[in-house]
Every structure is written in C-alpha cells, then in structure tokens.
C-alpha cells in the first residue's frame, strides 16, 4: 500500500493523499506500523533519578511504564499485569519503592519486572511458573538526557534511528531537566502538528506576531532534511518592530495601547540576533531549544510530542526544560515565562493549533484530494543554502511515513 504520489526518486513524498488525515483504516495501520515500529521520546533521565522511580507513557494506544531498577538500569515494560491485564498504575510518575503490586489481585513484580508475589499461589497447581509471567519488556534507550521507548522497532539502535540529527540534537539535551509539563488536545490529525515543525513557510503568515515583529523572518533561516527521516528548521530573528506590532494588536482587537508601550513579546533583548532551531524527529517529536545567544539558550526550551487519539483528534504533550544548574532566579523566570508562546493558549502555538484544526476541516473536502509539499526543486535533502521555506523536511517525513506504512 502506498498513500503517496507514485512519483519516484527525489520528489517522492511531494504530493500526499488527504486520506492520511481522515481514513480510519490508515489510522489503524499508523498505530501498528508507524507508532508500533519507531522510537518515541518518553521522558528525561532526571525523571527516573533513583531506584523505583517510574514514568508512564502510551504508544500506539499501548500503556508502557519506564522504571529505574535497583541496579540503576532503566527498563521499560507494558504497564499491564500479566494476570488479568489491569494497568499497574494510572499515575504519570512517582516512586514504587521495591515492588509494583497490581491493585486487582495483588500480583507483585520487582523493579526488574520479575513476578515475585502471587497470593494463594498454590491454587494454580504445581506447574505454575512465575518465570513465564514477568512483565513484558519493550525496548528502551537513552540519548544523553532523553529516554526513548519502542515497542517493536524496525531500527533496533536508537542512534542509528536518529541518524543525521544526532549531531544537531546532542548539544542541547545534556544537563537538562523538566521544570513543567502541559498538555492540550486539538481537533485535527496528529501529522498536521508535526508537519508544522518542519515547515518554515507558514510562520510569517500564520503568526501575526512574527509577521509584525520580524517580517520575512525566514530570510536568514534554514530548513532541510536529515536522513533517515528527520529535519532541522532554523531562523535568525532580527531587531523587532515594536511599533508595527502595537499598531497591529490595536487594529485586530481594538485594545488601546500607549505610544511608548513595549510589549514583552517585542522585547529586543529577547529577539535580537537570536539564532534558533526546531529539531523534528520522526514520527512525532520536536525539540525547540532557546536562542543560542542567550546564556540559558542552549539548555532551556520545549520538547513536544503529538499523540493521535483518533484520525481527527490529537494530544500534544509539552515538557518545558531548563539546565540542571540554573540558579533559583533563572529557574523562577523560566518557570513563569517559558510556556507563554506555546500551548493552545500560547502567543505562537495558539495559531498553530488553529491551523491544524482548519486543515482537518478542509481535509474532509472532496474538491482536492492531495496536499502539496513540492517547494524546493533541487535534488537531495536541501541544506543550509536552500530556501528556508522549502519543503525537503516534509518530503523526507512522508517518504519515511510511506515506507513504514507500506511495510507488512
């Protein structure tokens, strides 16, 4: 099965059937063949600091639990009792002590997943074998401070899976820890959200604040594909135009501003000459570190994953992170302000959420049945010299997507 335009070679992935946003059958296959066979960001190593610490995630509708064992090893299992399938915990995170005990019949598992306790065990007869009924493990690996899980990975090595994005991602994700988490849902397919973080064409149009503060912001940026399925998107903000911003705020809302107002979002200190990146990892992760020029920039930002809830409904989970050695004042400032632009409330992401919703509504239409990702006509994956608005990053996503979806 292929969902994409049959064009072969460099332009493959350039035209995509809109069925990928609406079809129940494709959604079912995505869970099995994409989400069931790829690596997924779960948490930070600092979320699992000591033995017994756990963190739960859901991948392809399957509940998983990550645990740090008494031997300091991080393991991942299905968060499912092998007796009657009750999930062992419904909590996001915490510490289990030495034993995970199922609430239903009190079957107990140690931190290594072995079944160590069965009430009234003799009733099962002499052939009962605890060794066959330990928690079922799934693949887990770390990339510096990031912890990934995979149910049945097609690429067994996480580093191989990350491929060319390793050198871009590595410097950002060392010495960081989560300082807050937020989640929001939207009425749209999950890919619409992830596409957005590979797309440097939309920001100056979809975000009025970017248009007003930094017109043509992408002129000095970049956006190219990284093998085997990832991408990097860059921009360099210029000196902001606060007056144009205020005029526009007033025009769209009717809110009265004073002539000398300098709203925080147009604060020159925050934007001037600040190169930034968004790193997109197939299929559903993006990492957006702060500006490289800021003292905290390399070690503070957002990690977002998008989880499909149905073909037309998704949830975004955002981790806000900061450097482990941030002083209390810096940390407090980050805690208060890092999420202001993100989320369905965010000064930027609020518009991204709206765009995803509008695309989902339009994808139902039968007038046109393909979405177009054809910007950038040179062969290859683009690069630093390519137009930042080109769509190499989206084509590599859909090439990989089609590969996974087509594989029996």
């Amino acid at each position: 099965m292929t969902m994409l335009d049959p064009t072969v070679g460099e332009r493959r992935g350039a035209r995509v059937s809109r069925d990928v946003y609406t079809s129940d059958e494709i959604y079912r296959l995505e869970k099995e063949r994409v989400f069931g066979r790829t690596w997924h960001f779960a948490c930070l190593t600092s979320d699992l600091k000591k033995p017994g610490d756990f963190f739960t995630v859901t991948v392809a509708d399957q509940p998983l639990i990550l645990l740090r064992g008494n031997d300091d090893v991080i393991r991942a299992f299905f968060n499912v009792c092998t007796h009657r399938a009750a999930i062992l915990t419904g909590q996001k995170c915490g510490n289990y002590g030495r034993v995970l005990k199922c609430m239903y019949h009190a079957w107990a598992f140690n931190l290594e997943g072995e079944l160590v306790g069965v009430p009234y065990e003799e009733g099962y007869g002499p052939d009962f074998d605890r060794g066959e009924l330990g928690l079922v493990s799934v693949s887990v690996d770390t990339f510096f401070d990031l912890v990934f899980v995979a149910i049945n990975p097609r690429v067994p090595s996480l580093v191989d899976y990350l491929g060319e994005i390793v050198d871009h991602l590595g410097p950002y994700v060392q010495g960081i820890e989560a300082i807050g988490r937020n989640s929001w849902t939207y009425e749209g397919n999950w890919k619409l959200w992830h596409e957005n973080f590979r797309d440097n064409y939309h920001p100056e149009f979809a975000h009025r604040n970017i248009h007003d503060i930094i017109p043509h912001y992408a002129d000095r940026g970049g956006n190219w594909a990284l093998e085997p399925a990832h991408s990097v998107l860059q921009w360099v903000a210029e000196a902001p135009n606060a007056k144009a911003y205020i005029r526009s705020l007033r025009r769209y809302s009717g809110v009265e501003f004073a002539e000398n107002d300098t709203p925080s979002f147009s604060n020159p200190e925050g934007f001037h000459e600040a190169p930034q990146e968004v790193l997109a990892v197939f299929p559903n992760l993006d990492v957006q570190p702060g500006p490289k020029t800021r003292g905290r920039g390399m070690k503070a930002g957002y990690i977002q994953t998008v989880t499909p809830l149905s073909p037309s409904r998704s949830r975004v989970d955002m981790v806000v992170y900061s450097a482990v050695d941030d002083d209390p004042e810096t940390r407090a400032r980050n805690l208060e302000n890092l999420a202001d632009s993100q989320g369905s409330w965010g000064k930027i992401s609020g518009d991204d959420t709206e765009a995803a919703h509008r695309c989902q509504m339009g994808a139902q239409g039968t007038g046109t049945r393909e979405s177009i990702f054809t910007r950038g006509v040179a062969p290859g994956n683009g690069g630093q010299d390519a137009d930042p608005r080109d769509e190499y990053s989206l084509r590599i996503f859909y090439r990989a997507y089609d590969d996974y979806l087509s594989a029996e």
Binding site: P263, E336, G343
Partner: protein, 161 residues
Amino acid sequence: MSDTRSTSAALRSELEDFYAHYAEAIDQKRPNDWLSFFTDEGVNAAGTHNNISTTGMWWYVDRGLVDLRERAAYTNGYHWHNPAKTLHVITNIRGHERDDAVIEASAYFVMFVADRSQESQLHVCGRYEDMLVRQGGRLVFQEHRVVIDAETVPQNMGVLL
C-alpha cells in the same frame, strides 16, 4: 490546608458584584473594560493545577498594564481564532481583608464556549486565587491567578479567564 475563615456578608456581596462585572466584561468582549479591573501593576497568571503545585510553572504571568494590554489583544482578535461566545460562571466566592487593606479572595469558575456553529460546551473550570485592593471607590485586581482544574486543556485557550 483549606481556609476555614468565614467571609463577611458585606465583603461577599461586594466580591460577588465585582466578579459578575468582571465576567460580563470578558463575555461581552470589552477588552478595554477588562483592563480596568487591574491596577497598573496588576498581575494576571494562568496555569494548571499540577504544575503550579509541584514546580510552580504558570503558562504565563502578565505583569503590569502593557502585558495586560497584550493579553487582551491576543484574546480579542489578534489570535487567528478566538472562541465566538464565552460564558463565565463564578461561584464559591470567599474572601477576607488583611490589615494592609488587601483583600485575599478565592472563587471557582466554570467557562462555557459556543464556538463556530457548535452548541455550548464546558471549556474549562478551575479556581481563582486573587488579591484585590480598593482603588477609586471600586475593587481591582492586584493579582489574578487562575488555576485550571485539569492537566489537559482543549484547543483555543486563547481566552480571558
């Protein structure tokens, strides 16, 4: 620990009146009037329960009139989408006046949205943790902090709370 102090009838009445007018300014989409409910240095913050209680992280903290104007603009037309109709119900109001004349008030709120062509739906609910002062013969927020009673929120939270 819960606050077991009782609220005087006079203060409760004053707060009920204040919150009713506050909700009306939002729901009638009068952003410039919404601004008048804050002091010039007023704080407006929102976040979710778990973040605030564990890490102290708010989605945003608007500090002072310029930040508040910016928030009012985003939530009244500057974002590409603002919910078409909102309705705030503010209840369970309590408060007490400190020796320095600052009133510490709390309330529950429920917000309904009738968006695009949809019927009215519960959007979010939560509580206010506020500090108010009297200014020019009326109450105004020195701090208005909104704690959402959920960890996952819907799209279109570009709203005043």
